[in-house]
C-alpha cells in the first residue's frame, strides 16, 4: 500500500479523500492556491504545499513536480481539475507515480462521448439519438444539420464537462446558435475546451447512474444505481440511491448492462455508467464518467463500501476485496448539494465569510464540507459548499430524516441553497418519488408556512429591525433599496 498520497484537489472532495487516507494510515499531502490557504483540507492534511504556478490546481506539471519533491507514491485527483486529463495521467505513469483513477489510455478512450456511444451501439446497447461527432468553434453549420437530423429538443453537452457545466437544452431551432455559443464559452471557462456534442433530449426522463469499480486483475463489480433527475440549471442538486419506482427486474437489467458496458471498455478503478430512462421505462446508455463522482457518498451509505478506499487499493494493484455477491445493498440514501448561491436571486454566487456554520447531525446523517465558521468562501471556485447525505431503512425514513437534517443547518454570512433544498424535500412529488427531469421546471409546492409561523416571523423581524436600529446599523427599508441585486442574472439555460 502507498505510504504517501498527494491530493490534487480542494474543497469537500479533497477533505473526503484525506480522511479515507488517514483512516488507512496513509500520509497525505494537500495542495492549495493562495485563496484556499484557510480551507479545511489544508488544515487536516499531514503535509501541504502551496501552488504558485499559473493554472494552480489545473497545472499538471507543477502538481507532478510537487508530488516528486514530497515523495508521494500516488496522486488522487478528486473530480474536475486533473481527474480526466489523459496526458496528465500519462505523465504520472511515466514518472512512476500511481494515478488513483482509470489509466491514461482508458480515460482517452472514454473522452469522446460520441465515440463511446457508437462503440456501445455496435455492441448492441441502446443509446439516445446523438450527433455523429463533436464540434469546436466555427462549426455551426454542421451542428445545425445534426440537430435537425436527431430532432428537437436537443441537449448540447460539453465533451470535457461534468456537473452539467456547458450543458444547454434547446427546444427549438432558433435558439440553437446562441445556446451553442454559451455552451462553448462556459465549457471553455470551466474546462478549457470548447468541444460540444448533441443528444436528442428525452423529456421527461430520469437520469440514472450505476457505480462500478474494476481492479487491475479485470474484476468489475457494481454498487447499485443512483437517481439524479432533480437538477437546477442542468446540475444535479438532490440525488438518491437506489432509484425510486424501479422493479427488481429493471434494476437488475440496469446493473447487468452497466457492468457489461464497463467490461466492453475494460474499465478500471471507480466510475459511473450513465443512462437516461424514458417514461416507458426503456433506458439508454449515454456515457461513462471515468472518475469519482460528487454524489458517491449516497452509494457508500447503501453499500457500506468506502469507494475512495477501494479506489486507492485498486490503484495500488490490489484486487478488489469483495465479489459481487458480497455487496448487499441496504436501505435508502438521499444526498443534497448545498451551494453558496442565492436561489431567490437567479443563483447569484455568494462568496463571503461564514459568520455562522452549524451542521446537522445525529444517527445516519453525514455532512462533507470544506468550510467552517469564520472561514472565507472564495470567489474563485465552484460554489459547492457541503454535501448532506442521510440513510434510512426505507425511502420514507430517509426522506423524513433528510427533511429533519436539512432544517438543522444554521449558516450565515453567505446565501445558500438550503431553503430551496428544504422546499424540494417537502415537495409532494419528491416525497412520493414520482419525479423526472421535469421536476425543476415547475413551481415547488413544499410546506408553506402556516399563520402562526408567519405571525412569529413578523415578531422576529420587528425585533431584529429595532435591534439593528439601536446598534446603529439601520436596515434600509426595502422600498428605497437600490435594485442592483435584481439586475444580475445568471445566464439563461
Amino acid at each position: 500500500m502507498f505510504k504517501k498520497v498527494l491530493i490534487a484537489n480542494r474543497g469537500e472532495i479533497a477533505l473526503r479523500i484525506i480522511r479515507t487516507c488517514r483512516d488507512m494510515g496513509i500520509t497525505t499531502v494537500a495542495l492549495y492556491e493562495e485563496s484556499d490557504r484557510g480551507s479545511l483540507h489544508v488544515r487536516l492534511a499531514d503535509q501541504c504545499h502551496q501552488l504558485t504556478t499559473p493554472g494552480g490546481y489545473t497545472n499538471g506539471e507543477a502538481v507532478l513536480q510537487i508530488a516528486r519533491e514530497m515523495e508521494a507514491e500516488a496522486i488522487h485527483p478528486g473530480y474536475g481539475f486533473l481527474a480526466e486529463r489523459a496526458e496528465f495521467i500519462e505523465a504520472c505513469e511515466a514518472a512512476n507515480i500511481a494515478f488513483i483513477g482509470p489509466p491514461a489510455k482508458l480515460v482517452a478512450d472514454l473522452a469522446c462521448k460520441v465515440d463511446v456511444m457508437a462503440a456501445a451501439e455496435k455492441a448492441g446497447f441502446k443509446t439516445p439519438p446523438h450527433s455523429a461527432g463533436s464540434y469546436g468553434e466555427g462549426e455551426m453549420d454542421a451542428i445545425q444539420a445534426e440537430a435537425d437530423r436527431i430532432g428537437y429538443p436537443v441537449l448540447i453537452k460539453s465533451c470535457t464537462g461534468g456537473r452539467g457545466r456547458g450543458a444547454r437544452l434547446v427546444r427549438t431551432k432558433e435558439h440553437l446558435a446562441d445556446a451553442v455559443r454559451h455552451s462553448q464559452t462556459e465549457s471553455y471557462t470551466v474546462y478549457g475546451d470548447k468541444h460540444i456534442y448533441l443528444e436528442h433530449a428525452l423529456l421527461p426522463a430520469r437520469q440514472l447512474g450505476v457505480q462500478v469499480i474494476g481492479d487491475q486483475q479485470g474484476n468489475i463489480i457494481h454498487l447499485g444505481e443512483r437517481e439524479g433527475s432533480i437538477q437546477v440549471g442542468n446540475q444535479k442538486i438532490v440525488e438518491e440511491a437506489p432509484a425510486p419506482f424501479l422493479s427488481q427486474e429493471q434494476r437488475e437489467k440496469l446493473w447487468d448492462t452497466a457492468v457489461q458496458i464497463a467490461r466492453l471498455f475494460n474499465y478500471q478503478n471507480a466510475g459511473t455508467v450513465e443512462f437516461i430512462m424514458d417514461e416507458a421505462g426503456e433506458f439508454y446508455f449515454t456515457e461513462i464518467k471515468p472518475r469519482l463522482q460528487i454524489e458517491h457518498p449516497t452509494t457508500e451509505m447503501i453499500s457500506g463500501v468506502d469507494i475512495v478506499q477501494q479506489q486507492i487499493r485498486v490503484a495500488a494493484g490490489e484486487p478488489l476485496g469483495m465479489t459481487q455477491d458480497d455487496i448487499k445493498l441496504r436501505g435508502w440514501s438521499i444526498l443534497c448539494r448545498i451551494s453558496a448561491e442565492d436561489p431567490w436571486n437567479n443563483f447569484l454566487p455568494s462568496p463571503g465569510r461564514l459568520t455562522a456554520y452549524r451542521l446537522p447531525a445525529g444517527p445516519n446523517v453525514r455532512v462533507d464540507t470544506y468550510a467552517y465558521r469564520g472561514c472565507d468562501i472564495p470567489v474563485h471556485y465552484d460554489p459547492l459548499l457541503a454535501m448532506m447525505v442521510v440513510w434510512g431503512g426505507n425511502r420514507e425514513e430517509a426522506v423524513r430524516r433528510a427533511q429533519r437534517a436539512m432544517s438543522e443547518f444554521s449558516i450565515a454570512g453567505v446565501q445558500t441553497t438550503v431553503p430551496l433544498l428544504q422546499r424540494i424535500l417537502d415537495d409532494p412529488d419528491f416525497v412520493s418519488g414520482q419525479y423526472t427531469t421535469a421536476f425543476a421546471h415547475r413551481e415547488l409546492v413544499g410546506n408553506l408556512a402556516n399563520d402562526s409561523d408567519r405571525r412569529d416571523m413578523a415578531v422576529a423581524a420587528a425585533i431584529a429591525y429595532l435591534v439593528r436600529n439601536r446598534a446603529g446599523r439601520p436596515v434600509t427599508p426595502s422600498r428605497v433599496r437600490s435594485g442592483w441585486h435584481q439586475d444580475a442574472r445568471r445566464l439563461p439555460v
Binding site: R165, E186, T189, V190, A340, W344, F347, L348, P349, P351, T355, A356, V379, Y381, D382, P383, S407, E408, S410, A412, V418, P419, Q422, R423, N447, L448, A449, D451, S452, D453, R454, R455, D456, M457, A458, V459, A460, A461, A462, I463, A464, Y465, L466, V467, A471, V475, P477, S478, R479, V480, R481, S482, G483, W484, H485, D487, A488, R489, R490, L491
Partner: protein, 164 residues
C-alpha cells in the same frame, strides 16, 4: 414604543414593540392588538438574535443582513419591514449606477459608452465561482460611463457602469 408593519410571505402584521434593554430576554409585544409573550436568545448586538420563542413555540432563525428574509427550520420567509413612525416616505432610488453584485472577473463587455440601453438589457458578463452572470441595465437610458474592462477583477459594490 415602536410601531412596525411587517409583511411575511405576503401577509402583513402590525407589531408594537417596546424594545427592552440589551440584557433582557423575556418581554411582551403586541401583534394586531394581541399581546404575545416573547423569549429571545439575546438583544445584545445585531447577530445575537438567532432564537425566538413565542406562545406558539421556539424558532431558531437566521435573519438576512438586509432584512429581506428570515429563515427558521420550517423554511425561508420573505419579509418586508415598514417603520410606521418614519412618516416621510423616502423617494425611490433613481440611481443609475450599476454595481458588482458579487466579486468576480469581467469576461465580456456587451455595450459601449454612449449606447442607448433599455432596462434589463445585458451590459456585461461577470464570472464568479466558475459561473457567468449577466449584469443588466437597471433602467432605460444612455451608458454614461463604463469602468469595466474584460479581464478585470472587481470587488463587491464596485461601480461597473452608469446609466443616465
Amino acid at each position: 414604543m415602536s410601531k412596525i408593519a411587517v409583511t411575511v410571505d405576503g401577509q402583513t402584521y402590525e407589531v408594537e414593540v417596546t424594545l427592552p434593554p440589551s440584557n433582557a430576554t423575556d418581554f411582551t409585544v403586541t401583534v394586531d392588538g394581541q399581546s404575545v409573550p416573547v423569549s429571545v436568545s439575546s438583544l445584545d448586538g445585531i447577530d445575537a438574535l438567532d432564537w425566538v420563542a413565542t406562545d406558539n413555540g421556539p424558532y431558531e432563525i437566521t435573519v438576512d443582513r438586509d432584512l429581506q428574509w428570515i429563515r427558521s427550520y420550517r423554511g425561508r420567509h420573505t419579509v418586508e419591514v415598514r417603520d410606521l413612525e418614519v412618516t416621510t416616505s423616502r423617494p425611490m432610488s433613481r440611481d443609475g449606477r450599476v454595481k458588482a453584485p458579487v466579486p468576480g472577473l469581467i469576461t465580456r463587455i456587451l455595450v459601449q459608452p454612449g449606447d442607448k440601453v433599455e432596462a434589463g438589457q445585458p451590459l456585461l458578463v461577470l464570472e464568479a465561482m466558475k459561473m457567468e452572470n449577466e449584469i443588466k441595465a437597471p433602467r432605460n437610458g444612455t451608458v454614461l460611463q463604463l469602468n469595466a474592462q474584460s479581464g478585470k477583477t472587481v470587488t463587491l459594490g464596485d461601480v461597473l457602469a452608469e446609466i443616465g
